[in-house]
């Protein structure tokens, strides 16, 4: 009973209920979270591998496991083409069956032998959003690209904010020479032309997902440090911090338990916009060819394929990833807007 009461009154709850009042932000957060959660189930929704196959009395689960083509009496060096397998099994109409995902094409699957013309192919009945220039299904690639882009944006933001918060907190808390050192380091670091740096780095290492995340974290963390430092500088002079000192709390505890929770607003307010920035950055890097390596499903690569053709004949390769990017980013921006309003203390005091 009393627990509920206190929860309603905590600052977090105040902000959360204020955020809920921001309808656009709240629903955007809901939609983006649901979509992102669903995107982890994509292998069961959009995939070339069937969920279940019943073949000659045995059950097979190709989504989870690799079966050689011979298992199903199909001539192939690798896995069977399950869509064809489904056709043949359906025609024979025995006890056997193949349960395909809703949209039976994979993101990295080459459809050259099923297509009638040279790829890229425009949107059609089978491939809703057409195929790219290597004959891969654009719908599947765009959806998988959503998962990768959002994950990438979240991870880069998470880690760079962790690093930035740590640096900002130390800098603000210890002040003096430590502060001077951190601030100069941040200034030098932020002056690095980092697009060039990535281009140079990409020329001798091919960054995978985690390496690219790491590089971008290293280049991105400086942004938040200044804000956290400012907050910490302000909070550390407050009397509750002195009160924590005089009651014998350790410095570590004072930073983590007293100062940082009170310095959280810039971190939360900036996070959604940082995610937006990082997603856009990933698309840009992919577009330029310095991002994630093929065959990773990526929006930037699709746009690049579309743009590489002199006319706009490959419009679906440009429009579709851009629409997806636009919707994703605008949802996150709305969330950020909601957070910003919820953390804006000035509105608390507005008279009505």
């Amino acid at each position: 009973m009393s627990k509920n009461k206190s929860n309603i009154n905590s600052l977090f709850h105040k902000r959360w209920s204020k955020f809920k009042l921001h309808k656009r932000g709240f629903y955007s957060l809901f939609v983006i979270l649901v979509l992102y959660a669903l995107s982890f189930l994509l292998p069961f929704i959009v995939n070339k591998d069937p969920l279940i196959i019943k073949y000659n009395g045995n059950y097979y689960f190709p989504v989870f496991k690799y079966y050689s083509a011979a298992t199903f009496n199909v001539q192939s060096n690798s896995e069977a083409n399950y869509r064809k397998l489904k056709q043949t099994i359906d025609e024979k109409n025995k006890d056997n069956f193949v349960l395909m995902p809703l949209y039976p094409y994979g993101p990295n699957e080459n459809l050259l032998d099923e297509l009638n013309s040279m790829p890229p192919n425009p949107p059609a009945k089978n491939n809703w959003f057409g195929t790219d220039d290597r004959g891969r299904d654009v719908f599947a690639r765009v959806l998988y690209g959503f998962n990768i882009s959002v994950s990438f944006g979240l991870l880069v933001t998470l880690f760079s904010f962790m690093l930035g918060t740590l640096a900002g907190a130390l800098s603000g808390f210890y002040g003096g020479k430590t502060d001077m050192f951190f601030q100069r380091a941040v200034e030098i670091w932020s002056a690095l032309p980092f697009l060039y740096l990535i281009i140079i780095l990409s020329s001798f290492i091919t960054p995978g997902f985690s390496l690219l995340t790491f590089i971008l974290v290293l280049l991105n963390w400086v942004g938040i440090t200044l804000y956290v430092r400012g907050e910490v500088l302000r909070e550390k002079a407050k009397e509750y911090v002195f009160a924590a000192y005089v009651s014998g709390s350790s410095k570590f505890r004072i930073i983590t338990r007293h100062i940082l929770p009170n310095s959280i607003s810039p971190i939360v307010t900036f996070a959604p916009f940082a995610v937006v920035g990082n997603i856009a950055l990933l698309v840009a890097l992919d577009f330029l060819g310095f991002g994630l390596q093929p065959p990773t499903a990526s929006w930037g690569q699709l746009i690049q394929q579309g743009m590489s053709y002199p006319t706009l004949d490959r419009w679906w390769l440009i429009i579709i990833p851009l629409i997806f990017q636009f919707i994703t980013l605008i949802l996150i921006v709305f969330v950020g807007e909601g957070f910003r309003d919820a953390f804006d203390s000035k509105q608390y005091s507005r008279l009505k």
């Binding site: 009154n9 002195f242 009160a243």
Partner: protein, 334 residues
């Protein structure tokens, strides 16, 4: 009487850069203060704003923000151990456990994002060997004894849900949580209105009577409160102690002109025109203190010598010390 705390020749200076001359200047916020706190007493430290009373108290807890300020020299003995020599882990064991501190600002001395329970239990679990559940029970009992009757329900509340007086009670509970023997109360009631002020101080007095605390250092600028609640009083001015005596004696026979001024400036003493007396002038800036006695340019009884040399703190009557040329007869005869 046994001394619980002994401050010897404490000097706490602040360093600033003068804007005009661009030279570093030293602000002697606490200049050679020696003071004893005995067991089982409430010692009042009185003075105007900027007289160094808070800095003295903060020096005991080593709360002086470096590098702008520094305890330049001096020793502070707490039960025969110099607390100024303690750092890190050792210092943390004294803070809160042996010496507790409460602040003037009731609105910012509690962390806004933690519940009362979390804050009080933190003190208990830091210093005493108790589990969190035991600590919670102790906190509830403590809050009840501080006069928060529905403590069991309210302990899960956040500071902003309490009034100023309630918060000071909570701050007091937090300070007493680890059973310290000395409490430093830095103007604990300045921000509160008069009725609440009385409640809090009566509470403090009863805590001391109940032997929950051995001694209290009570910092205030209100001599009226000192006369009512303290056993002894030290009057500070411009970073120096001007007069130390028992409260009863200082009320009867104040010696230092500054103490006299403070007493006649108290609102309950009005002169025949029904006007409250004020000491002329303002507290001097620490940047430009007079050469002789620090009070000379506001003193109505000042004479030549006061402007030239600074008097020493001498014992006039038993346990009554004063720093004033009026009483330094040997000097006058010279």
């Amino acid at each position: 009487m046994k001394k619980i705390l002994q401050i010897l020749n404490l000097k706490t200076y602040f360093f600033a850069v003068d804007e005009k001359s661009n030279k570093e200047i030293i602000l002697k916020a606490v200049d050679d203060v020696s003071l004893d706190v005995y067991e089982d007493e409430i010692l009042g430290i009185v003075g105007e704003s900027g007289s160094g009373k808070t800095v003295t108290a903060q020096s005991i807890m080593q709360l002086i923000p470096e590098p702008s300020g520094k305890i330049v020299s001096g020793e502070i003995f707490y039960k025969r151990e110099d607390v100024l020599k303690k750092h890190g882990e050792e210092l943390r064991k004294i803070r809160g456990k042996d010496i507790a501190y409460i602040f003037q600002e009731t609105y910012s001395s509690l962390n806004p994002v933690l519940t009362i329970e979390e804050q009080i239990c933190e003190v208990i679990t830091t210093h005493l060997d108790k589990s969190y559940d035991e600590a919670r029970q102790i906190s509830v009992d403590l809050l009840i004894s501080m006069g928060i009757k529905d403590a069991k329900d309210r302990i899960k509340d956040y500071p902003h849900q309490f009034s100023g007086g309630m918060r000071q009670r909570i701050a007091l509970a937090m300070a007493l949580a680890a059973k310290p023997s000395l409490l430093i109360a830095d103007e604990p009631t300045t921000m509160l209105d008069v009725t609440i002020q009385k409640q809090i101080l009566d509470l403090l007095l009863s805590i001391k009577k109940n032997k929950q605390l051995t001694s209290v250092i009570f910092i205030t600028h209100n001599l009226g409160l000192v006369s009512k609640y303290c056993d002894r009083v030290a009057v500070m001015y411009a970073g120096k102690i001007q007069e130390v005596s028992s409260v009863s004696e200082i009320m009867k026979t104040p010696l230092h002109p500054y103490t006299k001024g403070l007493l006649s400036a108290s609102a309950f003493l009005k002169d025949k025109d029904n006007k409250v007396y004020t000491i002329p002038g303002n507290t001097p800036s620490l940047k430009e203190l007079p050469r002789g006695c620090k009070f000379c340019n506001r003193c109505s009884e000042a004479f030549d010598k006061c402007f030239i040399s600074e008097p020493d703190l001498i014992e006039i009557n038993p346990n009554h010390f004063v720093r004033c040329h009026l009483y330094q007869e040997t000097n006058i005869n010279e």
